[in-house]
Amino acid sequence: MLAKSPSAALRRLFDAVGPVDAVGIEERVAKYGTRSIKKHAKLWGLKTAVSMVDLTTLEGKDTPGKVASLCRKALQPHDAGLDVPRVAAVCVYPAMVRHARRALGTGTGVKIASVATAFPSGQAPLKTRLAEVRAAVADGADEIDMVINRGAFLAGEFATVQDEIAAVVEACGPAALKVILEVSELETYDNIRAASFLAMQVIRPGDFIKTSTGKTSLNATLGNNQVMIDAIRDHYLATGVAVGMKPAGGIRTAKQALTFLVAVKETLGDAWLTNMRYRFGASSLLNDLLRQLAKEKSGAYQAPYYFSEAAESY
């Protein structure tokens, strides 16, 4: 029967959230790039962006030593003279959470985020994924970055997708949750908008939705960021539930980060210009932000190797 078929459910969900015009989205976000951010506004934007970074290492070769050095950098991104805030969080695999906790200690303000739920594919039994979440929280993770079941989504089994997210919310306990939609696998803006609502309907105020794992070809873009913050705005205005946003992967330069922040300022407003509600999932972004901040202070660009963890030269 039509009404019970997965495709009928797909249409109902899409009807409820409304369509997205891809050309229109691209045009809207192109305007953010023309905003000219100078002087004080630039300083404020750069520092705010630093405070929003989820400093990330997600490699098979991660070791306790590597995680420890990442944590040091999170606490003090650069020489004290530059007056840079701490980043929002470090983001590591579950096995590294206890090492991160040891390196960071407690009460520093820097959170420990852990990807979980068989990141990045999510292709493990739900029981296993939930156990992974509980283990990461038990080891000291403050935040869990989960991946949604894209296979179920594309098959039209939305209830499965949503029920699994709800189960992870429960497994998180006190930890905040970030729901990764993996936008490149959802492909269309319509799908991204629909998936955003699927997630937002079951997560809590203060939880996040997140673009991508950083493990596929296409990651955060201004376009999919815009679709998701439009969804967050609509959900907030309809329910009063404020959900955060985390674009991840592909944001490497300070200029890009400022453009994303302009999108936030002009779509969600001032209340989202804080790391409680907006994050950047990135690793190389931090050093470019620092480089720009140093340039604002001294008037000259410094070589990349003046910043820690950067091997590039000229």
């Binding site: 369509p19 309907q201 079951v202 009063g240």
Partner: protein, 502 residues
């Protein structure tokens, strides 16, 4: 377990004792001023451009050109008299023969040169256009100047291919044409007029609007630099009486006019009984139609672009928003939120979205019509943005609860004022959209392709945009139905209006 049945409610949930959620667009992260600093290279005084030379008007009279953003004088512009118009037409007539005989590929070289020289001086022209007309630098930089160059490039490509313009027919130039252009896109309208006329082998006498002559006269510098033969292009400056002299002169074979419908009617009367050809591109009161299945956020973006682009000084501006009743409240709420982040102010600031109204007279006309809208009972909304103390500025304005009998639904306001009407069915939308003396453009917003096709044939408008608005291209003909004029500009059709077929 939660299920899909839990849908997002359409309206904010009421929570006792707490206000409905609203977004804060405040001053947490204000942008610092970011003025464009390129030198516009203005001269203190501009003469007429006749026969390839800058010549003083025979009357010796000049008038001031004002920067509408601060009411300061920018330059003095020559006031042409009948004798000057005579001289301009004499120069154009003298140049007409040789120019028409020139092989198309040679004329193409001149047009390519004009396009490239304009690109070379793009920033200078963008700043000059913004100073003279009040439009945001963002628009003159990203739209007016590049699009003007694109028109010269496009028509340069046609100049040696005229034999393909009308297969089987011989194409010949008309001779001398007289052109009068408006103040809303001074340089771009000049390009729209000059490029096809020159490509087809005509020579030109052109009069820019009196409030925006500067980029036209700066373009005369480019014409000299390009080495265009003297007399092929002539510029005479001044107000309405100069325009009348250009139109009523016996020499031109064709008159092309872009401007108000009132003046268009005068010209049509004046030309009745003569053998002059005429094309008119006049006013508009375009309907921008939003259906309930439209991508609403992008539609709102298109509505904003449709009515606030160039302060609404656009003949094809989407000044009547027709919105489907089921989504009327949602669209209005989204529009208000979008207006909260529009920046009104110094046109030279790179972050300015809405600049200055072109002239004091136009500002007064907008004020009068807005006052009429209020007194006729439409509901006015303006964001609380601060306007500069000096200069001609007007807040972006929304009127909801407008009906077809309101003046603001019938008369062209030519300012940043949107009239919002609602409809229930497709038929009603078409009927309301067509219930106007104008027919220049329309917009349709829907996710349903078949509806777009249906409406594009039923809407009596020269251009129908689907899920977008205010998109232009040199290859695409632009022009109107009914009192929005006749004749086309751009594309093959536009070029045909500057040629005779034998």
């Amino acid at each position: 377990m939660p299920t899909l049945a839990k849908k997002t409610p359409a309206r904010p949930v009421s929570r006792p004792g707490r206000p409905a959620p609203e977004l804060i667009f405040g001053d947490l992260w204000p942008f610092d001023p970011a003025p464009e600093t390129a030198d516009p290279k203005l001269q203190p005084r501009y003469d007429l451009f006749i026969g390839g030379r800058f010549v003083a008007p025979q009357s010796g009279k000049y008038f001031d050109s004002i920067n509408p953003a601060n009411e300061k004088k920018l330059a003095e512009i020559a006031l042409a008299g009948p004798a000057d118009v005579d001289a301009a037409y004499a120069a154009a007539a003298k140049a007409a023969g040789p120019w028409a005989k020139l092989p198309g590929r040679e004329r193409a070289k001149y047009l390519f040169r004009l396009a490239r020289l304009l690109q070379d001086r793009a920033r200078e022209f963008a700043v000059a256009e913004t100073l003279d007309g009040g439009k945001p630098i963002k628009e003159s930089r990203d739209f007016d100047v590049p699009m003007a160059a694109a028109h010269f490039f496009y028509h340069a490509g046609w100049a040696d291919k005229l034999e393909y313009l009308a297969p089987g027919r011989r194409v010949a130039p008309l001779g001398v044409v007289g052109q009068v252009i408006p103040w809303n896109f001074p340089l771009l309208m000049l390009a729209w007029k000059l490029a096809p006329a020159l490509a087809a082998g005509n020579t030109v006498v052109l009069k820019p609007a009196e409030t925006t002559s500067i980029t036209c006269l700066k373009f005369a510098e480019i014409i000299r630099e390009a080495g265009l033969p003297p007399g092929v292009v002539n510029f005479v400056t001044g107000a309405g009486e100069v325009g009348a002299a250009v139109v009523n002169h016996p020499v031109p074979a064709k008159i092309a006019f872009t401007g108000s419908t009132d003046v268009g009617k005068l010209i049509m009367r004046a030309l009745a009984g003569t053998d002059k050809k005429l094309t008119l591109e006049l006013g508009g009161k375009a309907a921008n139609i939003v259906f309930d299945d439209a991508p609403l956020d992008q539609a709102v973006e298109g509505i904003v672009n449709g009515i606030f682009f160039n302060q609404g000084h656009v003949c094809c501006a989407g000044s009547r928003l027709l919105v489907h009743e089921p989504v009327a409240d949602a669209v209005l709420a989204k529009l208000k939120r979008r207006l909260a982040v529009l920046k009104v102010g110094d046109p030279l600031d790179k972050n300015t979205d809405i600049g200055a109204i072109n002239s004091a007279a136009q500002l007064q006309r907008i004020r009068d019509l807005v006052a009429a809208g209020e007194s006729e009972g439409a509901e006015l909304y303006q964001p609380a943005c601060r306007l500069p103390d000096k200069g001609y500025y007007f807040r972006p304005t929304l009127f909801s609860g407008v009906t077809m009998s309101h003046r603001i639904a019938r008369e062209e306001i030519f300012g940043p004022v949107l009239s919002i009407l609602t409809f229930r069915t497709v038929e009603e939308a078409v009927e309301k959209a067509n219930n106007t003396a104008y027919g220049l453009s329309a917009g349709v917003w829907t996710d349903k392709g078949s509806r777009i096709l249906k409406l594009s044939t039923e809407l009596k408008a020269g251009v129908v945009w689907a899920n977008t608005y205010n998109k232009f291209d040199p290859t695409s003909p632009f022009g109107g139905y009914k009192e929005s004029g006749f004749g086309r500009e751009g594309g093959r059709q536009g070029l045909l209006d500057y040629a005779q077929l034998t």
